[in-house]
Symmetry: C2
Subunit: 748 residues, 2 copies
């Protein structure tokens, strides 16, 4: 572990104590060697990477559905995946395929239900297996993979909107007792088949996924769940009342927060009567979102306990439906602890309505946020569903694009991927939702034909095999970006008219402003978790913080402490004036000697140092009173008022307050960010002459590699120089040609 | 004109009479030939193309701002454009640059205000000029190009939201008398400079644009204009009351429509008190949108009359801000008549928030809709702003992408383009909005450097010069798509809860379903204007109609007539039950013998002929009673109810009713559309083996060319066969390789 990542021990979502740095999960599996020999294999996960037999490796997995791929082709196609560099496959075990009518659960009567036969073949092929037994599987099956009898015969279990209407005919309320009873029966049947084939017991199964893309079946159809039975509305010992009673010490405290007049916790409603747009309404909405994610955590606990009780001894995993949902699972990750790993799904297109048809830089920023978030949560960043085709035949997912997509993920820190899907086949009779043939445009066609996509996946597989050291490499970095998990969740509950810059605004600015400018300017940001303390000890890197009106009291306190002890930050467009409960808290701004800010009402001409007319989004905030003891770095030329200033402390600490945000688009933005970071003493690692080629260096300290990403649709040239360590010389790579939609790697 | 386009005389937005087929506008200009000779040039516009000296040509123009490009570089850069194949340049004449304080209007005191000098140099360079004197110019100048004194000193002229608040600090109410007075003064100064340099008077100016992207400054900021003074609310002789009195014969008729209780027209409000979601509310919203576009038409009439009074004798033009806005200008086009030409702006990216960074197929469908709409309006489709750079430095507009963009437009029927911009320079002092240097990433940089983009534009210029015959080519077509202008406008006023499929839903389905499937399947659709009568005489092509709940009584009548006389149509997902005023009208469905439809509530498994499980958007409509005398073509397997059926008439006419819509994505969609069209006797022109290469044939009858569009990010191969005429042999082109993001042309 000597060469583990520098930031490896920053993790742990604001856990109060110190998170165990390495949690070891050893399993043994007999591996079949080419010449027929077997030996016991070990499988391990820590916060750096996966390890097999003590060697850090990438998890290179492909989704492979025994219920679709014809049985006669299982081995042949598994071998193809292994030849492509794969070390694992994953499969759903769809409830709808196996429980035909209530209680009639079948395995093996048809070849498409022969789960055990499949597990055996996977083992023979020398691959690992991730089992995904639901309850939900989605996977373009009817009822999102739930049995039809279940959704038809148990209407009470369906999730509801706040007005009592159904969200969708196949969206259940996860904690409804009738639903959990049926899940228990399903688990009684399916879990033993998994349990006896885990790596501990000589089988190939290394991880078990519960459910699928939790919340998706509800929120993607427009609503969180408000099923009154499952959520327990209107009763003092109901789930909702109990949760509120934990959050608020008294009913009067709740009333104050929600601007309500409840006589008891049991009377509280999911949405208070407070005026639309008020802070009371905002708190009430935020509380319901927090309660909702708490119920998800409770459901996950129920499922994992149910699986443990049925002897499944693997690590549990779950896949967030997309990077934007990673933050839904903060409570869940805390509740499930060290035997759990959260991954994410990183699609770029599933039909023509998506924002892009191929990997774009805007998409890549989202993947970077996801990868960094998972790393800060303490996991080796893993993509449990990476495009290996699409549920739509058009727009196409091409070999060229998939290679760029996977290499981008690797460049941005991902340590494991599972292509969704590696190969498909006909859906079991009557179960197909989007089509009867689930070909998916995958690497191996429904009929077994090898497509160009296969060769692309193989190229990546061979790259990973040749560069296994990347599994324990980290990203070389020259500035930090503060991640506030609350900001990442804030778009789910909105804002209030009393708020100038919401958490959601700030989080969006981080992506479309700070991070995009950073990559265009050749800077190498990495994230720090503002809700933890680990980052505070490292004063070598300045931290960029997207400021919103609210920031938790503890985080404000930590920032003050950081500045007092010599740390350096940039913060804007506003300083927080509220704490995490949206009540007044001006700890940080008082320390900085800055009063509240007011939004510019007319046009502003923003000049920063010698950069005239820096484009902004029209959201500029001036300090109401001129900041004391500050050096003004930027002004509005029209009014002469300061828009950027610096406050230095005797400790050597420094805060730059930047009273505006921007949508990255102009070369002035690159110049401005560079001036800011250089002012704060940051040393730039990469110099690239073309803002359209985004450069990332991954390094173990001993070995390093440049990834040059060109996610535009045109070929690009760039001149690159690298300056990694304090003692090393600048490496000049000369002019690099990076083809359109591709990632070029250069060993350093 | 013998070889003019087949569909050339279909045009004319539902004009009651017959539109003049060719409106001739002849102008004479002395053209400087390379060896110093001059002769009088003619310039002509008709509904097929532009013509110079009697020869049909493409208008190949580049935006060139005398107020930005240094004067010393004017001639050099104009020559570069001419060398690139350009025959025209365009320039704004920004009010903000010339009227420094009220009444202080300057030309020529600074080189960046030397409009006349510029016109002279353009003439010397042998190029035509499009003059764009505002009032608005936008062009990334402060106040969208209006003088600061104007927006500061005349607060009453600003446009307002319905709640009385300002839309933006620089959005004026177009018809406000104080604003028009100031425009008159500006026109007094600027128009004579244009007038004396028109082609009729020996100058280079062939067209004059009034204003810029009308409505954009209001609706892009979130609202139509409700300025009470300009709109004349609350008074019997106010604009709004007068307009309503023309639309409704009596106040009681208005009250019935708006579900209101007004005592007089003057009492009517922009939004009636009718219940949210009711048809009364919908009618009231639609009426306000119609009134709003009527005021735009009135403004355009005022501007063009003001320019004529000031002796400008050129054709007038205007640029719709984007394809979605073309339909805003239906009234305006009718009001301005034959001396006017509407074009559109066809951008694909101006900053990172756009849907795509490069031309994509989804974008191309929008451009096709735009080009066809402009053609049906009676104009040679013209793009007055085509990307020649971007106001953002990032994402980049590359040479490769611009070539694909322009060639796509040409493939889809565009006959004239103006790159925005060809070259830029520093903004006049204090006028820049996005930056001080307006480099724009253009073909020729701010400093005069020739970029790769220039060579791309030159390649296209040379292609156009070599293939001038394309100016009078039309698209070979094998089925028609019915354009209902009302559907194209419907997203501006929404829907009501009583409506199953709104006009906006139908219009979206046309784009994301019918047209996308058509191009993927190798069909060659062209539009017909359902509000006119021209298409009715041509029964050779079946017409696909996206059915909404409402369709004008006249159009329903025309469709009945068309079917009675042997025409063939496909219509769905519903048949109209309402007329253009949302009152009951079942002319068409009664003729087809089909009662009202009802939406499927549960899951549907849709089978069409031998295609099982055709994916749909979940919006399936069954006939309430089984259709009489019909052949069922598709059923829901679960309920057994028909979802597609055909009704034949003794005339040979046939209607297929398809009770569902789809988002194109599956190969089954291609197969289904092909079955439908072949069933109706259509003969397919193009067979292409790859759905990702979209093929279009343009032909004069004598000469033809295939355009193969690959707007994906990967190279594509396709095998192509062409079968153009009834007597010609099938032309096999073998396997074509089309590079990513490019358009391949093959002469046939």
């Amino acid at each position: 572990m000597a060469d583990s990542v520098k930031d490896g021990n920053r993790g742990g979502i604001g856990s109060p104590g110190v998170k165990a740095y390495v949690y070891l999960i050893f399993y043994l599996q007999p591996i079949v060697l080419p010449y027929g020999l077997t030996f016991m294999s070990t499988f391990k996960i820590d916060n750096v990477s996966y390890s097999i037999n003590g060697e850090r490796v990438f998890l290179y997995s492909g989704e492979f559905h025994y219920f679709r791929v014809p049985k006669k082709d299982w081995r042949k196609r598994l071998d193809l995946w292994k030849e492509a560099g794969g070390n694992c496959v994953a499969t759903y075990i769809p409830w709808v395929v196996h429980e035909l009518s209530e209680g009639d659960i079948r395995f093996g009567d048809e070849s498409y239900r022969d789960l055990e036969g499949f597990i055996e073949v996977v083992k023979e092929a020398g691959l690992f297996l991730i089992a995904r037994p639901g309850p939900y599987s989605y996977t373009e099956l009817i009822n999102s993979g739930l049995p039809t009898w279940l959704v038809n015969d148990y209407p009470n279990i369906l999730a509801k909107r706040i007005d009592g209407s159904l969200i969708a005919s196949d969206a259940v309320s996860y904690l409804h007792p009738q639903f959990l009873d049926r899940v228990a029966t399903w688990y009684d049947a399916v879990c033993p088949l998994i349990a006896k084939n885990t790596i501990n017991r000589g089988g190939p199964i290394i991880m078990t996924q519960f459910d699928n893309e939790l919340c998706g079946v509800q929120v993607w159809r427009g609503s969180m769940d408000y099923n009154p039975e499952a959520m327990g509305f209107g009763s003092e010992d109901g789930r909702f009342a109990s949760w509120l009673a934990k959050r608020y010490e008294s009913v009067s405290e709740l009333n104050e927060a929600h601007e309500a007049l409840y006589a008891s916790f049991g009377q509280a409603k999911p949405l208070s009567d407070a005026a639309e747009g008020s802070c009371g309404r905002l708190r009430s909405k935020r509380d319901y979102f927090d309660f909702y994610t708490h119920t998800i955590s409770e459901y996950a606990l129920w499922l994992t306990r149910a699986m443990r009780e049925r002897d499944i001894d693997t690590n549990f995993v779950h896949n967030s439906g997309n990077p934007g949902m990673n933050s839904f699972f903060v409570e869940m990750c805390r509740a499930l602890g060290d035997n759990f790993l959260l991954g994410s799904d990183h699609y770029y297109n599933l039909d023509q309505t998506w924002s892009q048809n191929s990997p774009t830089p805007q998409w890549a920023i989202g993947m970077f946020q996801s990868s960094e978030t998972l790393r800060l949560m303490g996991y080796p960043p893993t993509v449990f569903e990476l495009p290996g085709g699409s549920l739509s035949d058009w727009p196409p997912i091409t070999a060229h694009d998939v290679k760029a997509c996977t290499m981008t993920n690797i460049a941005l820190g991902v340590k494991g991927v599972n292509y969704y899907i590696f190969t498909g086949g006909p859906n079991p009779p009557g179960t197909g939702w989007t089509a009867d043939d689930y070909d998916y445009g995958a690497a191996i066609s429904s009929g077994g034909e090898i497509r160009a996509l296969y060769h692309a996946e193989k190229e990546v597989g061979l790259f990973l095999r040749e560069n296994q050291w990347l599994a324990h490499a980290h990203q070389a970095t020259d500035f930090a970006v503060g991640l506030d998990f609350e900001q990442a969740r804030a778009e789910n509950y909105g804002s209030s008219t009393d708020i100038q810059v919401s958490g959601s605004d700030a989080y969006q600015f981080l992506r479309t402003g700070v991070l995009t400018t950073a990559f265009c300017a050749g800077w190498s940001p990495t994230f720090v978790d503002l809700s933890a303390r680990e980052w505070m000890s490292d004063q070598s890197l300045p931290i960029y913080i997207a400021g919103a009106d609210s920031m938790s009291r503890d985080t404000q306190h930590r920032l003050v402490e950081f500045l007092r002890s010599g740390g350096k930050i940039v913060i804007g467009p506003v300083l927080p004036t509220l704490d995490e409960r949206f009540t007044k808290c001006t700890l940080l701004s008082e320390f900085l000697g800055v009063g509240p800010s007011e939004k510019a009402t007319g046009p502003v001409r923003l000049t920063f140092a010698d950069l005239a007319n820096v484009s902004n989004t029209g959201t500029v905030y001036f300090p109401k009173s001129a900041p004391d003891e500050s050096e003004v770095l930027g002004v509005d030329e029209f009014s002469g008022r300061p828009v950027a200033w610096s406050r230095k402390f005797s400790s050597g600490g420094e805060a730059i307050i930047l009273g505006f945000r921007w949508l990255h688009g102009k070369r002035e933005h690159c110049a401005m960010l560079s001036k800011l970071l250089l002012h704060l003493g940051s040393k730039k690692i990469i110099r690239s002459s073309n803002p359209n080629v985004w450069c990332v260096v991954r390094t173990t300290g001993q070995k390093s590699m440049l990834f040059a990403l060109n996610l535009s649709s045109s070929d690009m040239e760039t001149e690159v120089e690298i300056d990694i360590g304090p003692n090393s010389d600048v490496i000049s790579l000369g002019k690099l040609l990076v083809e359109s939609g591709s990632v070029l790697t250069v060993g350093l």
